[in-house]
Symmetry: C2
Subunit: 337 residues, 2 copies
DNA sequence: TTCAGTTGAGTTACCGGTATCGTTTTCCTA
DNA sequence: TAGGAAAACGATACCGGTAACTCAACTGAA
């Protein structure tokens, strides 16, 4: 590492070099009014010559304004659903001149809390947090902070501030009804940590209600303590089929788990949906290459992220915002139910 | 939104309430020395009672120190490889009290440049950028900034500052040699935008050299303008097999594309590796559920991210750091070559 | 010619902490 | 008990910009 230590060029130096006051230089940089063409050119010339860099820290401090940071907390990047949502958020924020400050919480509430506390100390312009079940501590911090907050992912009809999400219960219910309509009766569910993945649990509950309403039964559930991925689906299916006989169909937390189930079924020569029906959620990329088109629920993850960013940006700029933005899902019939 | 507008409690108020000077209160908050037990308790009591929040913006400004932000630029979150790397980075940074400020560049150099410029204005503690081929503008900014920089992903033996990465060329060469050794001769490559995905190109070049050194030929390459995913691999394989006859084996940019190829082969009743050999890269989660174990190269993506974070943290704290950290890959023989 | 309005630019105070140095008090030892 | 070191705390200046105000010069209409 070289030890370049020349101090940052400051506005006062630029101003002096250009033969004007700091204030005039500041006005030029902020594209305000109150200076002549000629002065502007002189100042800008010095800005470039000296390599002046605007010190946003000083600005935020001096003008008592907030930063251009937006805190974004998501539970897990190994889950591609959230990776997509994050990408949607980041694109929008970035193109509006804001920066995403990331927290990957691993579904750990305490770690979200401490992150919220730390990030608030930096006067963020806004916060986007995944989930709606905050700790008491987190809720208090969010309320205290005079900052727009978007609760993402789970639709919350009485949000802390703003909410952008999906009605997971309804999407689960819709899938459950379809499965019953197609003649399945003895069902099971495969997913991951219910205690923290609140949205997946909502889907499960909606699905379960639909099964019961339709006269079916939920014979078994398998809940892994892991990220909802391919191998988890494969493994849990194996376990489940060996312990519970005569299952008609399995509902998975997402398409990746369902793909695992489908590949397991294939490896055992089970016909789908004849011997076993399989339903996923999310319409994830994997479903495009499976031997059969997966029965699933399409969700525009990228769009969801973008909508969340739109909401927070509007709130930051003081524009009117819908408190609650519901993102649609679309049923994909597929061939596995 | 409620219009709670009570001003933030400031240190001076806490100090007054506790009957001490600002300075003493500051000392207490920073766990320094120079105050009694009793004073500490009085101050802390007021901190909690008034809900004081430390204004890091003012601190960074006043003490002329940098922030706790580390800029992290990655090309694409749809590519789960980078999602994993990012998660590794974030975990380490977060547990050390630093925050990741994200940029998803979509492989667009200009957008990285403008992000670098903006994020530098916030006095970041360090920067982690993916890739080693920066624009002239970007290089200049990075050099000018008196901030540690890690170039991630592509190993760079003469880095701008620090480098943490993989020797992609070697990993491609190793795979190429294996393919030749197993008797494949007529080969093809499937990947995505070569112009910008520098690392994938390095793998391709290493692989190509190995093929040529071993007496094989590279008959065809198919380069998609898309993120390297399942369907891209499926589609490109279909296209390639219809335009180029008698291929022995295909080398894919990563496992997800290879999985697409494998599923296509299965759908056409081709035997693998008898009719067509398939090799991937990355040992991604999908390979765990495929009908055959994929021949691939294992890379510890999470660890790579963590190492990058470790390097930048050491540099931030002025500790000695290896300029270049090479992350190993491990060959996975699999059953598809 | 006069005077109000506009334009270009400078002056001053301040944002909320911390570094630095100075002062007082406490405590220990000769 | 004096004296000096250490501990506890306070006063002041400053970090690098901008808000708000002031002021001079110029413009144009009465």
């Amino acid at each position: 590492m070289s030890s370049r230590k020349r101090a940052r060029v400051k506005l006062a130096e630029v101003a002096e070099a250009a033969g004007v006051s700091k204030m005039t230089a500041s006005r030029v940089l902020n594209n305000g009014k109150g200076f002549s063409e000629e002065t502007r050119d002189r100042v800008m010339a010095e800005v470039h010559r000296l390599g002046y860099m605007h010190d946003r820290m000083a600005v935020a401090f001096s003008s008592h304004s907030s930063s251009t940071f937006v805190g974004v907390s998501i539970p897990d990047l190994g889950n591609e659903v959230f990776a997509q949502v994050l990408e949607g958020i980041e694109r929008r924020l970035n193109s509006s001149g804001y920066q995403a400050v990331l927290c990957v919480s691993q579904y750990d509430t305490a770690s979200v809390d401490s992150w919220i506390e730390r990030v608030l100390q930096w006067r963020p312009a806004g916060l986007i947090v995944t989930g709606r079940n905050h700790s008491e501590q987190g809720r208090k911090l969010l309320r205290q902070a005079d900052v727009p907050v978007v609760e993402l992912w789970d639709l919350n009809t009485s949000p802390l501030d703003l909410s952008v999400g999906i009605n997971h219960y309804d999407s689960g219910y819709a899938m459950g009804r379809f499965m019953v309509e197609r003649g399945h009766r003895t069902m099971a569910y495969i997913g991951t940590h219910h205690d923290t993945a609140h949205s997946a649990k909502s889907r499960f509950q909606g699905w379960q209600s639909a099964i019961q309403d339709g006269g079916g039964t939920v014979e078994d559930t398998y809940v892994l303590k892991d990220t909802p991925g391919f191998y988890g689906g494969y493994y849990a299916t194996e376990q489940m089929l060996s312990r519970t006989a005569d299952l008609d169909a399995i509902y998975y937390q997402n398409d990746n788990m369902a793909a695992g189930g489908l590949m397991f079924a294939q490896s055992r020569g089970l016909s789908v949906p004849g011997d076993l029906g399989i339903a996923g959620w999310g319409d994830l990329p994997i479903s495009a290459i499976l031997p059969q088109r997966l029965t699933t629920m399409h969700v525009a993850h990228l769009k969801l992220g973008q909508k969340a960013a739109d909401s927070i940006l509007a709130a930051i700029k003081g524009k009117p915002v819908e408190e609650v933005t519901s993102i649609d899902f679309r049923f994909v019939p597929g061939e596995t139910i």
